[in-house]
């Protein structure tokens, strides 16, 4: 059961910035994931995928519907889930080491053990030598490695990633994708990865949940046929091209529903 995710009939509205009425951000969203699945939520910006991710984590309550993780209903964030943010959101007054240790402190892990685990994870994300640096001293890609390390350090069974590579340059993004897969293949955590980059979703995921905007809903869930471990070669295969095209058609038809 550990690591399973069950999203049932989730609705969420936000008040509109100006004028009356609410903006429907999520409309009756349901899907379920088996433990160890790498799922990618793909959709245009504004389709509510980040909101859905926050509801799954418990950072935000749904208006109706529910999320169950490992059979338990989500009511608040838990240290069984690691969150990686698009804008990294590292504590700027803490060093790399301090940021990675942050969740462990909340878990009540004793200091020497904390240090040991943080060092291990920092090595895993290839940041050894930078333990005493502050976030502002690092590049975006490196900051996101810290963000990933912070999430991995608490040894969660589920990793929630909100467009984590959306604010780094293309080369760094591909590199980080490779490394994420390597780390994931060893740990086999459940991952929910939000992105608007179709190729990224196909390269990383087992399962792609395609979301459409206005009204926000899941328009399709498809399985990715590529085997594991994945290598960069699949980026250039005709199959990749065909699937990208297929998902793009799906997104576009979703967009025209709106009229």
């Amino acid at each position: 059961m550990q690591g399973t995710v069950e999203v049932r009939g989730v609705n969420k509205k936000f008040p509109k910035q100006a004028g009356d009425g609410d903006l429907q951000v999520l409309n009756d969203v349901s899907f379920s994931l088996e433990a160890g699945t790498f799922a990618c939520l793909v959709g245009p910006s504004g389709c509510g995928k980040s909101t859905l991710l926050r509801i799954i984590d418990g950072l935000m309550p749904p208006d109706s519907g529910e999320v169950e993780i490992a059979g338990d209903r989500v009511r608040a964030p838990s240290l069984d889930r690691g969150f990686v943010f698009q804008q990294f959101n590292l504590l700027p007054w803490r060093t790399v080491m301090g940021n990675v240790e942050f969740g462990l402190e909340n878990l009540g892990v004793e200091k020497s053990e904390r240090r040991r685990r943080a060092e291990e994870i920092i090595k895993l994300v290839d940041l050894d030598g930078f333990e005493r640096y502050y976030p502002a001293q690092l590049s975006g890609g490196m900051q996101q490695r810290v963000g990933l390390a912070r999430a991995l350090a608490i040894e969660p069974s589920i990793l929630l990633m909100d467009e984590p590579f959306g604010s780094v340059d293309d080369q760094t993004r591909m590199l980080l994708q490779d490394e994420l897969l390597k780390i994931w293949e060893k740990s086999q955590k459940t991952v929910i990865f939000v992105t608007h980059d179709i190729e990224e979703a196909l390269f990383l995921g087992d399962l792609i949940v395609v979301m459409c905007a206005r009204p926000s809903r899941i328009s399709r869930i498809l399985e990715v046929p590529f085997g594991r471990p994945r290598t960069d070669e699949i980026r250039g295969t005709p199959e990749m091209g065909r699937l990208k095209q297929e998902i793009w058609e799906e997104l576009r038809s979703g967009a025209t529903v709106e009229g």
Partner: protein
């Protein structure tokens, strides 16, 4: 991957506000061949030496021309400075400063928690903001007579005046610092299971620390001002000395020396707190990013 190759470490001495920030080693454009005069004008220490030298000369000339009844000469003031210490006047100033510190600490004890609550909880802000803002813009001097009525002119009088002068900046600054703690940082802390109390100590406090220290610094300046005014009003401590040196027998050399000493204490404390403030600002630990 050597650390040196990927991050930029910057020594603190480059971070003073005097040094223009240069990112990635790029300096602002400057015309290369400079004449001697232009280089001198670009040197702030040269400019300061010339300017303050001129002020000192003007002072000395005025003192000599108008006579020391109106303005003591510079050497006389310096001798006065020595006399402040040898004649025991400095002890009076020390006593004043001790009392100021007591008042300031009491003010901070109230101001920082209160400001933190105002910044954190909307209802506390709604409740207290009108009161704080009104008193903040009110002339505190106008309240001296009623303080005397209430507590007399002893220890509590001066303490209350200092509190009244010093309390508002730390309240307002702390509230602002806490209010503007990044929403994203709070969300990240929440995602990693941070409970309310730890949220306060591990996120709100460090994030707002530079604001709090800035508030303390401004509060200290106000405390100095309040203390001198309070003592001049009832002719106690340093205030009594200032009054005594400026009336008969007039000792303007001692008067100026004492004022210089007060200014020196204020400026030094201010600079120390500014330094602390800079150290607490995370962004000041670096210049650029890749």
């Amino acid at each position: 991957m050597q650390p040196e190759a990927r991050g930029i470490l910057v020594p603190d001495e480059l971070l003073t506000e005097d040094a223009p920030l240069s990112v990635g080693g790029i300096q602002p454009d400057r015309e290369e061949p400079k004449s001697g005069l232009r280089r001198l004008l670009g040197n702030k220490w040269f400019l300061r030496a010339v300017f303050y030298g001129a002020v000192a000369v003007a002072w000395q000339v005025t003192a000599v021309v108008k006579g020391t009844f109106f303005l003591p000469t510079i050497p006389a003031t310096l001798r006065g400075l020595v006399e402040i210490f040898t004649e025991g006047y400095a002890a009076e100033l020390l006593g004043t400063m001790q009392q100021l510190v007591v008042g300031l600490l009491l003010a901070l004890l109230v101001a920082i928690p209160l400001g933190a609550l105002m910044g954190r909880f909307r209802f506390v802000e709604d409740l207290l903001a009108p009161y704080v803002n009104t008193l903040f813009v009110t002339s505190k001097e106008s309240l001296l007579p009623i303080i005397i009525v209430a507590v007399g002119i002893g220890f509590w009088y001066r303490t209350w005046v200092v509190i009244l002068f010093a309390v508002f900046f730390p309240i307002i600054n702390t509230a602002a610092g806490v209010r503007y703690v990044d929403k994203e940082l709070r969300e990240a802390a929440r995602a990693f299971g941070t409970r309310p109390w730890r949220m306060f100590t591990r996120v709100y406090l460090p994030a707002s620390a530079p604001f709090v220290v800035a508030g303390v610094r401004l509060g200290f300046g106000m405390a100095m001002k309040g203390m001198v005014i309070a003592e001049l009003w009832v002719l106690r401590g340093t205030g009594r000395l200032l009054e005594q040196f400026s009336s008969s027998p007039r000792r303007l050399d001692l008067y100026y020396a004492l004022v210089l000493l007060i200014v020196a204490i204020a400026v030094t404390t201010n600079e120390v707190l500014k330094w602390v403030e800079r150290r607490l600002r995370p962004a000041s630990r670096v210049l650029g990013r890749e």
